[in-house]
């Protein structure tokens, strides 16, 4: 049915449609496309347009990045919904889920995966407002729906989140404005929309998409708006981000504890747990032996990884033909933490979730006597007796035979109220048993239904025992379950398929096996490859292997043909020594081979042992010893001739000169026609093995044609335009990447899934179950599905620890400076951890000089001890992650520069001393060192006085201890202070404290190492006061300088100008001073008159002044009065204003109160 070709479209030849077309055509012709319309009017303009076009082309170019996510089956896109509390995240999530699946979730928790289109699935995650969650989700989200309360505006968390995104690779962000219905006035609405948009654009980029959601209808946003949003989501394109493109990661959508209940009981729940997490692999391939980090928990070892059937598969080829997604597919949803989606598949179990069962929380559903009884039994305590009693009821499938087979599953069943079964027959039996035990009112048709279903999935190991009840909700569920049932089944089933169908295409065996054409045998061969899945038990492996290997080999012998060695198997899955592998089957064939492969044969080992002993010291050497007997054959002329075809001058047997031709893509041509058919048989079993001459003829012809085509193409390229065929760098790189991706895909195409997983790991898009060992019990006990669990793969380098040097800049919104040796919480790579950085700056490229505080508005270096991250990884840092920290919490951002095992940071050390004896240019210095040994270490070091006289440390003096002789470029003074500038190297403290927020019951309350001050404050301790550190009044005694004395002899020799000219003050009275004065009587009179007049004048001025002062006083008094009056008025005015303002704010507060209470209600 499907193979039938579709009818090609035939345009209508007559009728209304044809006429319409005809008419349209005519119109087009008559009016036509006017070429001139878009042609530039002037040459200059054309030039400008051309340049602009080229410029635009250049901006479109990016550094070519390989996308490691496969195109054909990509993992679901992670859409994170982020915003402050009460903004409507859950409402949006519900609306979107309803839009895609037509289901209304009551309580969405954890990741929810839905199918959104024919080529796309989405995983929605609602992210709470905890900073830890924001960091984690920012590292994995492909698309962020950033919700903003339109009536309130941006909140600090939003900005913090954007900064986190920036430092970890910016995913796509769509802003969503909500609560716009709270703004009543249209003008205010418009204005606030505009303001918010402007801010949003400056934060993200100009033109970033911002959505407006109006009010809530029926607990959801309006359907049309959600539809629009979903359209935007569905066409979103994603550019690979470097960090995610180099690390595998899994966003866990489910978590199970596999620890045996008994162990938990005996250890009081404090034992390390074995935990499985489930999710889609994203990023790169998840390899074997990889370590993972779960942010909030720590580094963990993967015990095993299993690929499971996709719980939310992409629409298959059948529905691919439709233009739209079929209705059935629309119902697919995978949300294990939210209790929807019906069926959940595990490695060896299927869990069916049925609402209205015996589980709690369904008080409204009427319960029969039987159900009530079972539910009461669930309430039993945890004593051993009760546990036994409980297990009797729950483990109704515990027939002894079964328990013996699958003990592991049984344990699990006993613990988690599920039952272990591996056989449908048994299942049926068990159901009957259960029915009997329950004595319940299960309708017979129900039972039938159940059995049918269980028949369908053939090898589901475990079935959740919460049974269906006849209630109205059931109908919807059964339908859903049917949908899920069409999924690819559990891995066990896959393995079975492998056994019977894919055997020929297994990795190593395929080529070796083609010689025997018996299907059944091949199947067995495939089987033994399969066994080497790391998850399986090793012992059973080897047994099976041996058993399986026997048969093909015996058949091989009977065929009597020589078989090629299967190198992969020999190397990777046998314990033969390399020498044994090489000698194996070299001289004699199958007989010995069998003997060797079956390791339990004794005589084989004896031979080898002897051989080993005969050799003595085996050197680890690269050159093999040339053995003369091996070279003997080259004396023969025929042998020499036989390799002539390996030289360019030699004739090729089939093809002639250019046998080694390589075509355009670097792919070799097939060597010979004869080979080709064999290869075909090998690769594709479906084709009939044909070796008729006619066929080979045809193939040869095809080969020839292909070659001719290539030649022609090359000629055309060279002839037409040799430049045109040349690609520019960008295109070349892109093509190279595409070719490599093609090769990656092709290389392991035919290989069965499990061998493939062995070689290349689990590809992105695979749904895997990761079993983790030694998980702290708190993670399970304090598990909260609203906090995302992220499993990030670590590269080999990232498991190591060392000193990490980063370039760091304090965030400009963080108010305080950062201090060296203060703990800081880094979010780097997958990890969040607290460590103690030392800040430094490059000092003239000579040394790294420690800084006590980070500089303002400038980058500096920081060095800390911690897990290694590759250079160029971005990070952000925090002082505190708790929600009640005030202000902006992102402390600093930066990038990793260097990884090392030692650091070279120095801080300045100034040693001071004083001279105690001074010769010409030599001085004896004391008080700088305490011993002669110290001096010896500093011999030759530069010293300096405060006044700038430079000198050198020479040698220690015998007495006093630590004194030394130093020479200077000039004579120093006794009052000089001599100092020595030295550099003291410091090491960052080896402190690494992972933020284990997921292990806490209150996940936002993590506290790491505190500062001393914080500890003192918390403990109520006083800061100890060092007496020497207190400030005291500085006594600065007046300095007395001795007068300058120029020796007399020298003075005499000096020229006059240089002579000191020091003269004593005159001691004797002058002539005038000695004389007395006598006046004439006339003169006396005149003087007396003048004196009188002056006295009068003085009196007059004084009186005038007094009067003026009086007047001024008067005036001042008046002014004061006025001032008082004015102040009174002012005061009144202010009072009035404040009254109005108060009323206003009160009203606003009331309004807000009302809204928040309303919010809480929804």
């Amino acid at each position: 049915m499907e193979d039938r070709p579709h009818k090609p479209h035939r345009p209508a030849q007559s009728g209304a449609k044809a006429e319409k077309k005809e008419k349209g055509k005519g119109k087009e012709k008559s009016h036509g496309f006017n070429e001139k319309a878009f042609a530039p009017k002037s040459g200059r303009r054309a030039d400008r347009q051309g340049r602009r076009k080229v410029e635009k082309d250049q901006t479109r170019l990016h550094v070519p990045l390989v996308n490691r996510t496969p195109d054909d089956e990509p993992p679901p896109v992670i859409v994170a919904i982020v915003g402050p509390p009460g903004v409507g995240k859950t409402t949006l999530l519900k609306s979107l889920v309803r839009r895609y699946t037509k289901q209304t979730l009551n309580e969405p928790k954890g990741p929810i995966t839905v199918v959104s289109g024919k080529k796309r699935r989405l995983t929605f995650v609602e992210c709470n407002n905890d900073l830890n969650s924001l960091i984690d989700i920012g590292k994995v989200a492909d698309l962020v729906l950033l919700m903003i309360d339109g009536s309130f505006g941006f909140e600090m968390e939003t900005f913090e989140f954007l900064n986190i995104l920036q430092s970890h690779g910016f995913p796509k962000v769509i802003g969503v404005l909500t609560h716009l219905d709270l703004i009543k006035k249209a003008a205010t609405l418009r204005a606030s929309k505009k303001a918010l948009k402007k801010r949003f654009w400056t934060e993200i980029y100009q033109g970033a998409k911002l959505f407006y959601l109006s009010g809530v209808l029926n607990g959801r946003y309006p359907d049309t708006e959600i539809l629009n949003l979903s359209r935007f989501i569905s066409v979103m394109k994603f550019r690979p981000l470097v960090f995610r493109n180099t690390h595998p990661y899994v966003l866990a959508d489910r978590l199970e504890d596999l620890t045996s209940r008994e162990l938990i009981r005996t250890t009081d729940g404090k034992c390390d747990r074995t935990v499985t997490v489930y999710g889609y692999v994203r990023g790169t391939n998840l390899r074997h032996g990889m370590k993972v980090h779960i942010p909030g928990v720590g580094d963990l070892d993967i015990k095993s990884v299993t690929q499971l059937g996709d719980p939310c598969p992409m629409p298959d080829a059948d529905s691919e033909k439709r233009r739209k997604l079929s209705e059935k597919k629309k119902l697919l949803i995978h949300a294990p933490m939210s209790d929807v989606g019906g069926v959940v598949y595990d490695k060896d179990a299927v869990y069916i979730n049925v609402p209205g069962s015996f589980s709690r929380g369904n008080g409204d559903v009427p319960q029969g006597e039987g159900e009530q009884m079972v539910m009461d039994l669930q309430d039993a305590g945890l004593t051993l007796d009760d546990a036994v009693a409980q297990s009797q009821i729950r483990l109704f499938g515990s027939s002894s035979r079964h328990l013996a087979i699958d003990e592991d599953a049984n344990m699990k069943g006993a613990g988690s109220s599920e039952d272990g079964m591996s056989d449908d027959e048994e299942e049926e039996e068990d159901f009957d048993e259960e029915d009997d035990e329950e004595g319940s009112a299960l309708g017979s048709d129900e039972e039938l239904d159940e059995d049918e279903e269980l028949d369908e999935d053939e090898d589901s190991g475990e079935v959740d025992m919460e049974r269906l009840r006849a209630d109205p909700q059931n109908t919807g569920r059964t339908k859903l379950r049917d949908v899920s049932r069409s999924l690819p089944s559990s891995s066990k089933k896959q393995r079975e398929e492998v056994d019977f169908a894919d055997s020929d295409s297994d990795l190593g065996g395929g080529d070796g096996d083609d010689d025997f054409g018996v299907g059944g045998r091949r199947a067995r061969f495939g089987d033994d490859e399969d066994i080497h899945v790391p998850g399986d038990e090793e012992d059973s492996d080897t047994n099976d292997e041996d058993g399986a290997e026997w048969q093909p080999q015996s058949s091989n012998r009977s065929f009597g043909r020589r078989r090629r060695k299967d190198w992969m198997k020999l190397i990777y899955s046998t314990s033969l020594t390399p020498e044994q592998i090489l000698t194996h089957g070299k001289d004699d064939d199958a007989m010995e081979e069998d003997g060797e492969e079956n390791e339990d044969e004794d005589d084989f080992f004896h031979i080898k042992k002897r051989d080993d002993l005969s050799k003595d010291e085996e050197l680890d050497k690269t050159k093999e010893t040339i053995k003369e007997q091996h070279l003997k054959k080259w004396e023969d002329e025929d042998v020499l001739e036989s390799i002539r075809n390996l030289f360019i001058t030699g004739e090729d047997i089939a093809q002639g000169e250019d046998g080694a031709e390589v075509n355009e893509n670097g792919e070799p041509y097939e060597e010979e026609g004869g080979d080709f058919e064999d290869l075909e048989v090998d690769v594709d079993d479906a084709r009939p093995p044909s070796s008729t001459p006619a066929d080979s003829e045809a193939i040869r012809a095809a080969n020839l044609a292909a070659k001719k085509e290539a030649l022609k193409k090359r000629f055309d390229e060279e002839y037409d335009d040799p430049e045109a065929s040349k690609l520019d760098f960008y295109d070349e790189k892109k093509e190279e990447m595409a070719r490599q991706l093609q090769l990656n895909k092709a290389e392991f195409e035919g290989v069965d899934a499990e061998s493939r997983a062995l070689v290349e790991g689990f590809r992105p898009g695979a749904y895997v179950r990761i079993e983790l060992a030694d998980v702290p019990c708190e993670m399970v006990e304090n598990f909260d599905p609203t906090y995302p669990i992220l499993v990030g793969g670590l590269l080999p380098a990232e498991e190591k620890f060392g000193y990490v040097q980063v370039r760091i800049k304090r965030h400009r919104w963080f108010t305080r400076t950062l201090k060296t040796n203060d703990p800081l919480i880094f979010s780097l790579g997958w990890r969040r951890f607290q460590t103690v950085p030392i800040y430094s700056l490059d000092d003239h490229s000579i040394r790294m000089r420690m800084l006590k505080y980070t500089p303002e508005h400038m980058h500096c270096y920081a060095t800390f001890y911690g897990p290694v991250s590759l250079p160029n990884t971005g990070f952000c840092a925090f002082n505190s992650l708790s929600g009640n920290a005030s202000g902006f919490r992102v402390t600093a951002t930066g990038v990793v520069l260097d990884i090392d095992r030692s650091v070279k940071i120095v801080k300045k050390l100034k040693l001071t001393g004083v001279p105690f004896k001074i010769f010409k240019n030599t001085a004896f210095i004391k008080n700088m060192f305490t011993s002669a040994l110290e001096v010896a270490k500093f011999e030759g070091a530069n010293v300096r006085t405060v006044s700038g006289i430079r000198g050198q440390v020479k040698k220690a003096l015998a007495k006093p201890d630590g004194a030394f002789r130093a020479t200077f470029e000039d004579k120093v003074l006794m009052s000089d202070i001599i100092f020595l500038r030295a550099w003291y190297s410091i090491q960052p403290r080896k402190f690494y404290n992972p933020v284990t927020s997921l292990l806490l019951s209150n996940k936002s309350e993590w506290t790491g190492m505190r500062l001393t001050g914080q500890v003192r404050r918390d403990e109520g301790l006083k800061t100890p006061l060092n007496v020497n550190s207190t400030y005291k009044k500085i006594e600065r005694p007046h300095r007395r300088f001795n007068p300058l004395v120029v020796p007399k002899k020298l003075q005499a020799e000096l020229p006059y100008s240089s002579k000191p000219k020091l003269m004593k003050p005159q001691q004797k009275q002058t002539y005038l001073q000695k004389r007395a004065m006598v006046m004439e009587p006339e003169e006396k009179k005149a003087i007396a008159l003048l004196q009188q007049m002056r006295a009068l004048r003085k009196d007059q001025v004084a009186r005038r002044k007094e009067k003026k002062e009086e007047k001024k006083q008067e005036h001042r008094r008046k002014a004061e009065k006025d001032e008082a009056k004015r102040a009174e008025k002012e005061k009144e005015k202010k009072k009035e204003h404040m009254r109005i303002a108060g009323q206003k704010s009160k009203r606003q507060a009331d309004l807000e109160d009302g809204r928040s209470s309303k919010r809480r209600k929804t």
Partner: protein, 365 residues
Amino acid sequence: MAQKGPVIHYSGHQYLRSRLVLSILSGKSLRIEKIRSDDKNPGLGDFEISLLRLLEKITNGTVVEISVTGTAISLKPGIISGGSLVHDCSLSRSIGYFLEPVILLAPFAKKPVQLTLRGITTDQNDLSADLIRTVTLPHLQLFGISDGLELRIKKRGAPPAGGGEVQFLCPIVKQVKTLNFVEPGKVKRIRGIAHAVRVNPQFSNRMIEATRSILNRYIPDIYLYSDVYKGDESGKSPGYALSLLAESTTSAIHCSEAVSEPGVAPEDIALRATRALLAEIQKGGCVDQKHQTMVLLMMVLGSEDVGRCRMGPPTTRTIQFLRDVREFFGTSFKIVPAEPSKPDSLQLTYSCYGTGYVNSNRTLA
């Protein structure tokens, strides 16, 4: 505080070098026990100690602990720092023994390596300095390590007294390229270096003559250089050797070498080298047998893509190396016959998915 990584255990002295290299590259600790524990002179040899010293010099933070008896070592690898170094090699092995691990580590160092090694340049067991220069380094170029990659032979030194000196310069890379080399091509040229120190310089000409007598029949493009070092540059002991290499149209290189032995005529030495070369060419593949492990390691360290290479059948070293690689990096190779249709063809195609190894030691800015 430091977290304990996994420790990988081995026993026996064999394959020590490749294990040390893998440990340092992967960062996983290594413990080797029972090193010649049943031997007449148990424990590590002097050349092995010398190698460990060299590795300590080239890395930063590496902790090597040797047990009292010398029969067990444990290695906690640090980072590869590189820089300019000088090392006097033990005279019980030639420089090639020490240089090979360094060649594998050097591209992933923090600073470009400038290593001066003193000792024996050519001997029976290890690749001679000539072969490393002409064959090993071109193999590195396949992986994009080319600019500034150089080996200078300052002085030659023949066993037993040595006295040779080589300088190895290697650039650092961020990541090695993925190899896709499945077309062996045909031999288009043969080159050779015949050298003689402290013996009659005619010896090298005699060797060249003998070689030409066999190889001239195949292709005309044969150049065999006679390389004579005199005086101080010729080391302390007499000796001569011939190294040959054949390059194919797709620049696959095969090589062979023969070293002087007392009582053997130079012609016989030349014939030995020539025949070994022919044997090597006959084995085919894109990579010489002696360089299998190197190419495989670089493939493992490539970007997260499928690398393919066609080679001859694996040697014992290669087999053990493949197993060790799986322990250290978790990478398995897919090994299938290169020409499934030809039952007697021994060539194999090795393909693997690279680990995406990035040089984390490299300093940014």
